[in-house]
């Protein structure tokens, strides 16, 4: 649900990116045989809203599972938290000022309303009168300003300042450098109203602007450098969400009680109990009715199918897997990518490597269909922006071979492997991450697929790389790496600029082209406030990237949630995300068990 649809709250999907479920060795060898006996699932057949028409009981208590094999950290503030587990706690007791629609764009139904100026450079935010912190004090314009003052401060210890939108606030830079006491672009108009002016107009503002206020009256007396470790954030945080924290057992559980003063109406549930449950036992916990709502590990889905006492809801995740080509290096001094690695400059070669991969089989055999071939670099969880007709590369080994022939990669010494156009031995070093039982078989499957079209691909150092080594090598453009398999969580802001632009350090493939820069810049320009224009621009970008193929989009993924039959009104539909926890109820006092 709101798992990833809040701006900037990006989940660490990288580790999970290669975490696959089960792939027997025979899959590795038989790439041509994509016919599959396993019954595959299709995420589009999953409902997004639970089916339960019964009336909720008053004062019900819901048990929420935090499916994780580590305790939560307990940094309970949007400006400071780092891991998804803390976010899951935050969502119950604090929320963004703005509600959002199905495109994750701000609407005016939430705690605040907004208005854009005519030049789209200034947003005026008005906080509604009945919005109060859980200690009874009103949420004010100063509170919203305060969160920017914290994030921009030179003593701030969190990771949110890197955001381009925050940095584009007029006067933010001066404040960050300590040259100004305040941020000149943020003006308090009255206690409930403020305006924020940006250096440039950017439609991503309406999904990507920092939407969280911080209780200044409560946190203001703590020096900013000590905020992250203060008890006011770790032990007794406050918010203005539908619930408030009643009790917490560090690292393992949190008890919430209803916030009767919630501005959007009294929540249905009297309380929520959140506890950490290991992924290995989550199915049993759901079956026993110990937990009512749990994000469910997709690899266990076949075992869970057909359960009677709980149901599944699902949607496509805000993430994708990809295989990237190292086309150059990052010039740290200038802060730009330089595309100077000759190995993969021929786009025929890149395309051929894409056509060689049978992602449909991977999705069906390894993920029971809950992952499926990616069609572009914008996942369908952005229905407005994702273009399924952006000429996706499918599985076509014959075409791959033809492209390689055309590019001059021919097997001149008849050893079954192609040489490069100069007749020299051509070996590609592939970096893949370890994690989960199927990381290795999947990497082998890809290597075998490339071998089937005559390409000699080897794992870097002959083995999978551990998470940190993987990123170190990719970030530092280690010359050992020609090709790497990664994954991105996109967050709710569709703008791919931060991942693919010339001056984005996360442009790991180091792909640079004029057209790419132009399309990316247009995609978040003033003109792109026109949705049709933006749609067209991103559609063109997706086509362009599928053609140039600096990275091969490999898989999209589904996110499924197990929900006990007694739960009402639960939804993972992005358009319902804003008030879902105040609407959710339970239709009986005891959960259904099996």
């Amino acid at each position: 649900m709101k798992k990833k649809n809040v701006v900037k709250l990006l989940t660490p999907v990288i580790a999970a990116g290669l975490l696959l479920s089960a792939c027997n060795s025979s899959t590795g060898g038989t790439t041509k045989n994509s016919a599959s006996n396993t019954k595959k699932e299709d995420i589009s057949t999953f409902p997004m809203v639970v089916k339960n028409t019964k009336k909720p009981v008053s004062d019900g208590v819901l048990n929420f599972a935090q499916v994780s094999d580590t305790p939560f950290e307990g940094t309970l503030n949007y400006a400071f938290y780092q891991g998804q587990p803390d976010y899951e706690i935050l969502q119950f007791f604090d929320e963004p000022l703005f509600s959002t629609n199905g495109d994750y764009e701000f609407t005016n139904d939430g705690a605040a309303t907004y208005k854009m100026s005519n030049d789209n450079k200034t947003i005026t935010v008005k906080i509604k009168d009945n919005v109060n912190w859980s200690d009874g004090k009103p949420v004010t314009a100063q509170d919203y300003e305060y969160s920017f003052l914290v994030i921009g401060n030179k003593d701030y210890t969190g990771v949110r300042y890197g955001d381009a939108i925050i940095q584009s606030i007029v006067g933010m830079k001066e404040y960050h450098e300590g040259k100004a006491q305040n941020i000149s672009g943020i003006k308090i108009i009255d206690d409930k109203t403020l305006s924020i002016t940006f250096a440039s107009a950017n439609p991503s503002l309406l999904t990507g602007l920092w939407p969280y206020a911080m209780p200044k009256h409560y946190l203001g007396d703590v020096p900013i450098k000590d905020l992250a470790k203060s008890d006011k954030i770790h032990k007794t945080p406050i918010g203005f969400g539908p619930f408030k924290i009643k009790k917490m057992v560090p690292g393992e559980s949190v008890q919430f009680e209803r916030n009767d003063d919630y501005y959007h109406g009294k929540p249905n549930l009297q309380g929520v109990v959140l506890k950490v449950v290991n992924p290995k036992v989550i199915l049993q916990s759901l079956k026993k009715g110990e937990v009512d709502v749990a994000d469910f590990p997709a690899d266990q889905y076949p075992a869970a199918k057909g359960s009677k006492n709980f149901q599944f809801v699902g949607k496509i995740d805000l993430a994708y897997n990809y295989i990237g080509f190292k086309l150059g290096h990052w010039d740290a001094k200038k802060g730009v990518s330089v595309m100077d690695n000759p190995k993969f400059q021929d786009k025929n070669l890149r395309q051929a490597m894409g056509y060689a991969l049978d992602e449909k089989s991977v999705g069906e055999k390894i993920y029971n269909g809950l992952r499926f071939p990616a069609t572009s670099l914008i996942p369908p969880s952005f229905p407005t922006w994702s273009d399924p007709k952006a000429n996706p590369v499918g599985y076509d080994p014959a075409k791959a071979k033809k492209l390689l022939d055309k590019a001059g990669y021919k097997d001149t010494d008849k050893d079954g492997l192609r040489e490069d156009p100069n007749g020299k031995k051509f070996t590609i070093n592939f970096l893949a991450m370890s994690g989960g039982d199927t990381a290795e078989p999947l990497a082998r499957f890809y290597i075998q697929s490339w071998k089937n079209v005559g390409l000699d691909v080897k794992l870097v150092d002959g083995r999978l790389a551990e998470f940190n080594s993987f990123y170190k090598m990719v970030e530092e453009d280690d010359p050992k790496v020609d090709l790497f398999a990664g994954a991105w969580g996109t967050g709710t802001d569709v703008d791919p600029y931060g991942l693919y632009a010339k001056d984005a350090s996360f442009n790991y493939s180091r792909f640079v082209s004029e057209k790419n820069e132009k399309l990316l810049a247009e995609g978040h320009s003033d003109k792109a406030f026109d949705k049709d224009f933006r749609k067209k621009t991103y559609s063109e970008w997706q086509k362009y990237m599928n053609d140039e193929m600096p990275v091969i989009p490999t898989l999209f993924r589904s996110a499924i949630t197990g929900v006990n039959n007694r739960v009402t009104n639960f939804s993972v539909d992005p358009k319902d995300s804003s008030f879902v926890w105040s609407k959710v109820g339970v239709s009986s006092d005891t959960p259904d068990a099996q």
Partner: protein, 322 residues
């Protein structure tokens, strides 16, 4: 004796210094840092800010400087800040240590409660069917991996029989400090402690059984028997007392085990403790937590060996420490 203990403590100082250098060097030799994983998943980050953050965290200082800073802090009892948890390491460890100590102590007591009677039975009635059962049990538990055993225990007693809660260290709904609060803690403790204890008895049983078998044919036992001491007295007074020696010697080392925690039990039973924290901190490159934990267990090992020596000399007058 006191001189001996003092001398041991003095020797500990260089040992700890060497340990700290080693730990620090090894930790820094791991690729990546605490920001690697966090930011790779956060595309909204520019290179400039990343650089600033690393600077703030001192990750860009030369290693010797980082070491001196860290070691200097250690002398003041300051183990640094956890980047991942954003709290001082001491505070973080204190929170987790309570659970770990309770769990480990319970495991220790339970495993002695199981192992000592079984060891005695096996040793006294060697080759009887009872002994064969004990040996069989020993091989079985020795060969059983804890992470599978814990899952099976959880499945049977937690989910099928519903005897015990399935995760956490306490039910959050009961009020702190009341009788039911402690009962809830106990109730949450039994299953993980039992799982840990059952597969933790091998060494104790084996030592005790072998010792008894050895001792039983020794001359002084024969003499006792020849003098007409009755059989049960031979066992309780002559054989057992001597057979407990190696176990007593082992006790000191158990301290290390006590604070080390168990990553499997903690993970499977959702019981936040030190073992779990240690593993997670390594993979997240939360250096200050990793180094602090290794330092502490290093210190505990040194003290544990010392304790073992002291216990041994106390129970066995043949060993003299000068």
């Amino acid at each position: 004796m006191i001189k001996f203990i003092l001398r041991r403590f003095v020797v500990m100082i260089p040992q700890l210094i060497i340990l700290s250098v080693l730990i620090f060097a090894l930790a820094k030799a791991m690729p990546g840092d605490a920001l690697t994983g966090q930011l790779a998943s956060n595309p909204k980050m520019d290179a400039q800010t990343l650089h600033e953050l690393k600077q703030k965290l001192g990750l860009l200082d030369p290693p010797y400087k980082q070491y001196l800073h860290w070691a200097g802090g250690l002398l003041h009892g300051d183990m640094g800040m956890s980047v991942i948890h954003q709290v001082p390491v001491t505070q973080l460890l204190a929170g987790r240590m309570e659970n770990t100590l309770i769990l480990s102590l319970a495991i220790l007591i339970l495993s002695y409660m199981i192992a000592i009677p079984l060891g005695i039975v096996g040793g006294r009635w060697t080759d009887s069917w009872a002994d064969k059962m004990v040996v069989g049990y020993n091989y079985l538990t020795f060969a059983t991996p804890l992470f599978i055993f814990a899952l099976i225990m959880l499945f049977i007693f937690g989910f099928v029989l519903n005897w015990f809660p399935t995760s956490g260290s306490v039910d959050i709904r009961v009020e702190d400090g009341t009788f039911s609060y402690y009962m809830s803690k106990l109730n949450h403790l039994i299953l993980p402690a039992l799982s840990g204890a059952i597969v933790n008895t091998t060494v104790t049983i084996q030592y005790l059984r072998n010792e008894i078998i050895d001792t039983k044919i020794k001359d002084f036992v024969k003499t006792a028997r020849a003098k007409g001491v009755n059989e049960s007295k031979v066992y309780t007074q002559h054989i057992l007392r001597n057979s407990f020696l190696p176990i007593a010697a082992f006790l000191g080392y158990e301290i290390v085990y006590l604070i080390g925690g168990s990553v499997f039990l903690e993970t499977i039973y959702g019981y936040p403790g030190i073992g779990q924290l240690f593993i997670a901190s390594i993979s997240q490159r939360d250096f200050s937590v990793v180094t602090a934990l290794v330092m502490i267990s290093g210190l505990a090992t040194l003290i544990g060996t010392l304790l073992s020596d002291i216990i041994l000399s106390a129970v066995d007058p043949r060993i003299r420490i000068e």
